[in-house]
Amino acid sequence: MILPKLALRNLLGAGLRTWLNVVVLSLAFVLIIWTQGLYKGMNDQAERASVEAILGGGQYWQEKYDPLDVLSLEDAHAVFPDGLKAMIETGQATPILVIQGTLYPKGRIHPVFIKGIDPDQKLLSLPTQFLKAGEDRFPALIGSRMAKNTGLTVGDTVTLRWRDADGTFDARDVEIVQVMKTVVQSIDQGQVWVPLDRLRTLAGMEEEASLVVVARGSLERPQAPGWVFRDLAFLLSDVRQLVQMKSAGATILYFVLIMLAMLAIFDTQVLSIFRRRKEMGTLMALGFTRGRVIRLFTLEGALHGVLAAVVAALYGIPFLTWYARHGWALPEGMDSYGFAIGEKLFPVYSVGLVLGTTVLVLVITTIVSFLPTRKIAKLKPTDALRGRMS
């Protein structure tokens, strides 16, 4: 047990050199946790927003429904079975009918998905209450990105065209009753939300739907022939892949940070072993074996990691906590990032992330510290005492 004590004394005795390394390494620590926390926060926020806005606790898809295949969309609607009907009646699920259509804002053509949803639904955060209107109006809800792309605002009337169940083209003027601000692009870009019953009637698809969103937390999974249940793991896979892709960039950043910190420690170790040969010789003369000298010097290097963790905790915990509470205000252009984030990004630091980063840094520091000390294994005590390397 004397080695850790000696190593710590030696390390602290080295003064400024030690603290420079420790500060660099602690910065790497904090930045890694911070950036990974941002990506975790981004992932969590994106998932939460998607779940609240459209995914719910999972979705039943009509077996032909594939949101990525517009050709099959024509046939992707059916009357839902009794099991799902019961859930819908008790408010445990809400149906959505999806058909392809075209919007003609200001003379331009905009292919869209027309989505019919129950204006009274409470399951999703979509502001569907705006779709409650009299028979004389045909209300439509669009997202802010869609509004920006089409130049539409609340109160505008625009022509919407679609094909009904028989393949006949039909068209109506719809009134934009609300432009919703949402971070979930999949309910915004190229989407027009209308009352479900109106769409069913106009499209000739009475009692039909393309998908049924199940309430969050509902464990009920009724048998539904002709319908496939898609759980959140499936529905969020795109979001997760996207976040993973984005975080790969961050991985390069923290690899560079770690490399810089490790380079400093490696350099210090090499310098230490070069400059402290006489000390090694003295230690051997006093009864240290070469193995013990190697362990001492390795431990000295590895303790940089431990000190860095302590220093990182001292300023990192307040910094990261503050950031987690106040979030990072994202610039407007972040919409182009590709998925739901929100106006502010709140980093999330999991125990696994903090422990994982700590263990990773400690292991790498130990390895980097050990590599130069292998030279000591060849060191003759007599050469060391003369300040020479064998």
Partner: protein, 240 residues
């Protein structure tokens, strides 16, 4: 019959390769040392003094021949066994003191005891006693950089004697000291030799050290040229 010598060397040879040349540092050295000797290896630079001291101290091993230190053949010792022998039975004093700069005087002296299985209390008692012997108890908290050359060497002596070794090997211990400090150091070592019956072997060509010796072994070109006792009346420095 039990071996009564602390150290014995038999036909000790040490050669070094220097490029294509072989340098003979020790040439068939046969010596015996008893307990409580105060002996010096003298001779010009390159005569093999330090090499012999290193082999006796198990820091080096002979090319041929044998060196038996406290019943153990140095040439047969593993690194670990040699380290244990040094730690338990041999103290070293170096020309450049070799104190560990980040530790205090107390910690430097205590250092060899850390490897022994001793309680903190015992280590503390032994360290204070060693510092008392060399008259530096009041500098226990100082760092080596705050000490004079003479004080540093006294700390090195305290470090060498703290574990009460049977043997202390001192390589040019006064080379970096002025005359007054040299005499002070040598008197301290002579007193320890007398009080603790510790064997001291010096490698030196400093006349001040030679004046204190009770036995003088002259090495020339790695071979023993002369091995003679020094009578009390011949000693210039020693006031035993």
């Amino acid at each position: 019959m039990e071996n009564s010598y602390l150290i014995e060397t038999h036909d000790l040879v040490k050669t070094y390769l220097l490029g294509e040349h072989t340098i003979k540092a020790l040439d068939r050295v046969n010596l015996k040392f008893e307990k409580a000797e105060f002996t010096g290896l003298v001779g010009p630079s390159g005569s093999g003094k330090t090499t012999l001291l290193n082999i006796i101290g198990s820091l080096d091993s002979p090319t041929s021949g044998s060196a038996v230190v406290m019943g153990r053949k140095v040439e047969d010792l593993s690194h670990k066994e040699a380290a244990t022998l040094r730690n338990r039975h041999i103290g070293f004093i170096f020309q450049t003191f070799n104190l560990l700069p980040v530790y205090t005087v107390f910690e430097n002296v205590e250092f060899p005891l850390l490897l022994l299985d001793l309680s903190a209390g015992a280590r503390r008692r032994m360290t204070i006693a060693a510092l008392d012997w060399v008259g530096l108890a009041d500098r226990a908290k100082s760092k080596p950089a705050q000490l004079s050359g003479g004080q540093s060497q006294r700390v090195a002596i305290a470090r060498a004697v703290v574990k009460r070794p049977a043997l202390i090997l001192a390589d040019e211990p006064t080379a970096n000291l002025d005359a007054e400090n040299s005499h002070h150091i040598l008197q301290t070592m002579e007193r320890l030799n007398r009080d603790l019956e510790t064997t001291f072997i010096f490698a030196t060509h400093d006349q001040k050290v030679i004046d204190y010796l009770r036995r003088k072994i002259t090495l020339i070109d790695g071979a023993v040229a002369k091995d003679e006792p020094v009578e009390p009346q011949q000693r210039g420095g020693g006031k035993t």
